[in-house]
Amino acid sequence: MTICIPLGVPVPHFGNLGAKSFTNNLSGHFCTQHYESPCLSFNRHEVMKWNGWGYSDSRFLFNKKGQAEFTGKRYKLSGMILPALKDWFEGTFGASLQHKSPATPLLNTSAVQAPTLNQDFVEELKSIGVPFSHEAEDRAFRGHGHCLHEIFALREGKIGRVPDMVVWPNCHNDVEKIVALACKHNVCLIPYGGGTSVSSALECPPEETRSIVSLDTSQMNRILWIDEKNLTAHVEAGIIGQDLERLLNESGYCTGHEPDSMEFSSLGGWVSTRASGMKKNIYGNIEDLVVHIKMVTPQGVIEKSCQGPRMSTGPDIHHFILGSEGTLGVVTEVTMKIRPVPEYQKYGSVVFPNFEQGVACLREVAKQRCAPASIRLMDNEQFMFGHALKPQVSSIFTSFLDGLKKFYITKFKGFDPSRLCVATLLFEGNREKVLQHEKQVYDIAAKFGGLAAGEDNGQRGYMLTFVIAYLRDLGMDYYVIAESFETSVPWDRVLDVCRNVKARVVRECKDKGVQFSPLSSCRVTQTYDAGACVYFYFAFNYRGLSDPVHVYEQVEHAAREEILANGGSLSHHHGVGKLRKEWMRETVSEVGVGMLQSVKDYVDPKNIFGNRNLL
């Protein structure tokens, strides 16, 4: 049986807030009458920060008592006091609450360059009735992703080249029309999904002289049908992760695709960057999840003729689309695998005496192919960091219990607190199997000296994933800048990559004149048969530096060089964008680059999709 989800699903964004103002009639109403000045629904910064991560109402701050708290009501941590954060923050970075570096509070619209409009294009666009805008706010909001340098510039009120206008197609057909017009009038199109890029992919190339149009897919956010026999769903590509999950849940299904950015990132974005989800061990990465993709290119629409689960029809054309980073066209509709919502979920955690043992355990788990939905190993620095985010304990009993646990691990078991590390686990499935699975994993862990450390620690570990981006904004209020980057690496090099990249970051910071010792930390976030995905965080206090962003960029560059020299990949799931372009040639070889280039040349000879990512 196929269920058709009727049009007029509540507005895409962020459940409770977004739903207040808009209910139905998205398509009919706005598209015809309000195309010149789109309503608030199109304006994300009503609910989201214009110069930081996430929802405007959710942020970390140090209150008058100097205690850290997290505002808002959206997260489990919201409204809580985090008593240990201040000491950790000051101790780790040498920062002080006295030294503030606040952001420019409001966007100065006069700092945004006047738009370069292609009048013929605008006229024809009006005639086809697709809403658009050239308001400064709309354009500035879509001119950046979330790289540190992008956010840092926004906080200082600096706006570089931004799109000259924004269009909001409502469906596949709208996109076809827009792309045809863009080709006709030689306008540059940059597709925009959730705006969570961390590869400078959304930056407008400064050398672009044509009018740049940001194609915002947010209105293409419907589930068009669910096929329960084949367990697939056909979805418009502009849908945001959490909405997709929530809507499917209502029918008892899920995709299981949960990238850390799922609150804000879009399906089309996942496809075009080869995204990876936390629970890929059960559900697979995006390339495993898609069954069918429809993309509009300057040469026309590309799609397969059937939905066969596997084909031998030459190289898989999906793989030209997956990871194309908006250089070939706009993904408009995707058919995805879905699964029944799991009956039972359980978090867990294991403490290891050191990182080496932890990695050995993860390797063994991967070898036995019994990885839970998610298994992640944090190093000692992140373990400490996680501890600093513990909310105020409600009773003396809990704090006593915590003390007892600590005593048991460090004194009785002889773990060195400055070396131990923790793995967080998430099991999913039916209850019986989960418990069985859990036992199997804990047994393996025990062989590597691992001690089960409870569900709470596990859950807090995953929560950290969602709030860490908010924490960066807090750091930036106090002269601390931070960034994360990732790689994938064969098992035999995991430890080497972790050690060397962390050490390289520390050394580069020192060499580049950073006055305070940096935080340099990593975690293993995914396991595969032949390797793992490693995520690095680094942060430092930039007081005393005249050009902190430049220093940070040099350090990040050096760190990437180090990754490549140690056998790590250029990216596991963030993509290349413009940030990592310089390494493409050595990554995929001269011929590889030539192949990609020839596809680009055929599909988009006029470089309409001119964001200049990847190549």
């Binding site: 035999d492 020299a565 056998g567």
Partner: protein, 676 residues
């Protein structure tokens, strides 16, 4: 101490401390039982010798090689594995603190007797103490005497730094008791000729890499491979260096720290043994009995010893842009793999850099300066008429000023008057020269009473011993003088003032003498530049963009420097001549070659045609042979068991002519990779 005094001593600002001073006023037993509590590497857990061996035997790398060897030889894997185990037993160190203490105690006793003082630079030790906590450290001393062997361990023990494991030759292990003591003091033992023994290479390289990876103890090895018989630096050996560096190339460690260490002696214990060995008397085999017999050397005074710990070098920084570590990305970590050409070049370059730093770090003694001057006198004059003492002292002070101008480090005691310093140097070296009635004479061994006459050949031999000793002490200063001396030689031979012509000849000399003097590959123009600046700094030349012109007033600098290199030129020319002379002979063995050269040299010394005794040194002879091979004038034949050489006489003549300026030198080899 006043700044000017310091400058004269040439010790710069380093604070050298005599570590024997404290040993003389406190108990050696107390020292041996001191609390030894070094800061461990990165706070990591220590790794015992047994753990290390176990990790090696369990390694995938070794198992792979064992499998291959078993396939190739047809024996079972278990058997090969057993063999590997035996190799490991022979090789592995067994570092034990109690033995370090025992060693420390004995060592205190012995060195106090041998040396008046042992100077160590404290800031070098302090930086080393830091360095051992951060990255695996490789200690790379030069090797001039057997005393070198444990001195580093002794110093590190005294200053609470983890004691090193030391690469040593298997013959040492075979000494009774002593071998075991060395083993427990941290020595591990390597066979001299490994050849193509795959299993041995595998065990050795994995063993060394294991120690570096764990980083719990510094590794100490002699990059020169063996003790230098001539007190000159030797061409570095690359095998060990490569094993030590590989963990960095493969990314198994973040960085490796190299610490060049320069050990200099006022007087070397083995001086006369070395000279005899160079003249063809075989080296006594290392044995415990021999060691005990040698205890008579303990009766003598050897002056002071200086140990200069160089600035730690980061391999990572040095290799930046020189090596592409992703070379290893596409094969398993534990696959035995030939290093890339790039890596080999880098290893060689690093080894040369370290040797260069060892040289620059060594302290030149007053005696060595005197030896430079003494050896320039005709041997017969020195043996019979003697040299006027006042002339010698005056010229030594002149030379002192010059080497200081050249930026060398000197060990000139500042507290005593200059004349006292020099006469005490003479008396310390009475085995070579002696002072009588205001003149300095060459010391010659007394003729045994029973024999009344000695043959002229024996006479040459008797003179040669002290002369070669003198040459060895001269060699201690050569590193500071060789670049300007080569420029001086180029000026004298080419009689040109053109910079590029001089540079061409300078390069040619470096090429010919690459086995005599160690130069960093690819550093030619810097070396030339340095030579120009040196000569300019002492007023010997004027330099301009195109020209290097000798100044009229100070031709004595040029003459002195030219004479400094003359023995090498003479020896090389003679040996070239010898190779070309034999009419029919095209192919010879090394043994035949050495004998022929020796006979000719002896003949010409007796006839007064050859003025240097250094041609008699087997070291010089072998160096010429390697130079000829390198310059492709002689080819090594691999047909027979013993090495045979085939000579291309025309090529040798071309080199001969170029070396005396008859024809312009062609570049003999393609210029080395610009990146190096």
């Amino acid at each position: 101490m006043k700044a000017s005094d310091r400058d004269l001593r040439g010790m710069k600002d380093d604070e050298f401390v005599d570590i024997l001073e404290e040993r003389r006023c406190s108990s050696d037993l107390g020292h041996a039982f001191r609390t030894f509590n070094p800061q461990p590497y990165k706070g990591g857990p220590p790794c015992s010798a047994a753990d290390l061996n176990k990790a090696l035997l369990d390694s995938h790398f070794l198992h792979r090689v064992v499998k291959e060897v078993a396939m190739e030889t047809g024996s079972s894997q278990e058997k090969v594995m057993e063999e590997a185990g035996e190799i490991l037993v022979e090789m592995s160190h067994n570092l034990h603190l109690p033995f370090i203490r025992l060693m420390g105690y004995t060592f205190s006793k012995v060195i106090k007797r041998l040396f008046t003082s042992i100077f160590v630079n404290m800031d070098g030790l302090n930086t080393l103490q830091q360095a051992v906590q951060e990255n695996p450290v490789i200690l790379m001393p030069n090797h001039r005497s057997y005393v070198d062997f444990l001195i580093i361990s002794y110093i590190l023990f005294t200053y609470d730094i983890p004691v090193p494991v030391i690469a040593a030759g298997v013959p040492l292990a075979e000494m009774k008791i002593v071998g075991e003591i060395l083993r427990r003091s941290g020595a591990f033992f390597i066979r001299r000729s490994i050849g193509s023994d795959k299993l041995y290479w595998a065990v050795l390289s994995e063993y060394v890499r294991g120690i570096v990876r764990h980083g719990f103890a510094p590794v100490e090895f002699y990059v020169e491979g063996l003790r230098s018989r001539t007190l000159k630096s030797l061409t570095p050996k690359l095998g060990m260096m490569q094993m030590v560096l590989e963990p960095y190339f493969k990314g198994e460690v973040f960085d490796i720290t190299l610490v060049p260490i320069s050990i200099s002696y006022d007087r070397v214990l083995e001086e006369s043994l070395l000279a005899r060995e160079l003249l063809g008397v075989p080296k006594p085999k290392e044995s415990t009995a021999g060691l005990l017999k040698a205890s008579r050397v303990l009766q003598e005074d050897y002056g002071s010893m200086q140990v200069n710990f160089g600035q730690p070098l980061s391999v990572r920084k040095l290799c930046e842009g020189k090596i592409n570590r992703s070379y290893y990305n596409l094969v398993p970590r534990d696959l035995p793999m030939k290093p890339s050409a790039e890596a080999l070049a880098c290893v060689s370059w690093l080894a040369h850099v370290v040797v260069g730093l060892q040289e620059r770090g060594s302290l030149i003694s007053p005696w060595s300066l005197m030896a430079c001057l003494l050896i320039q006198e005709p041997t017969t004059v020195l043996a019979e008429q003697g040299l006027l003492w006042d002339d010698l002292t005056e010229k030594t002070l002149w030379l002192r000023k010059m080497v200081l101008d050249f930026g060398a480090r000197l060990n000139w005691p500042g507290e005593a008057p200059n004349s006292a310093v020099m006469s005490s140097a003479i008396s310390l070296h009475r085995s070579i020269v002696y002072l009588k009635a205001g003149r300095v004479y060459l010391t010659q061994e007394e003729v045994p009473l029973r024999r009344h006459r000695i043959s002229p050949e024996e006479g040459v031999f008797r003179t040669a011993v002290p002369v070669l000793m003198l040459a060895a002490y001269r060699n201690q200063s050569l590193h500071a003088l060789v670049r300007p001396a080569m420029l001086a030689m180029s000026i004298c031979i080419t009689r040109s003032t053109q910079r590029d012509e001089l540079f061409r000849f300078f390069c040619f000399l470096q090429e010919v003498f690459a086995n005599e003097f160690i130069f960093i590959p690819g550093n030619l123009s810097q070396d030339f530049e340095e030579a120009c600046l040196c000569l300019n700094s002492c007023g010997a030349v004027y330099i301009s963009e195109q020209e290097v012109r000798v100044s009229e007033q100070s031709s004595e600098v040029i003459t002195f420097l030219q004479k400094l290199l003359q023995p090498f030129i003479d020896s090389y020319q003679l040996i070239f001549r010898c190779v070309c002379e034999e009419e029919q002979v095209q192919v010879f063995t090394e043994k035949q070659f050495l004998a022929a050269v020796r006979a000719l040299a002896l003949k010409l010394i007796l006839s007064g045609e050859l003025h240097t005794y250094e041609t008699l040194s087997s070291d010089t002879q072998k160096n010429v042979l390697s130079a000829l091979c390198r310059l492709e004038a002689v080819a090594k034949l691999r047909t027979s068991e013993i090495n045979e050489f085939k000579v291309n006489k025309a090529a040798v003549r071309r080199i001969t002519d170029a070396l005396c300026g008859k024809i312009p030198p062609q570049m003999l080899q393609a210029p080395p990779d610009a990146r190096l």
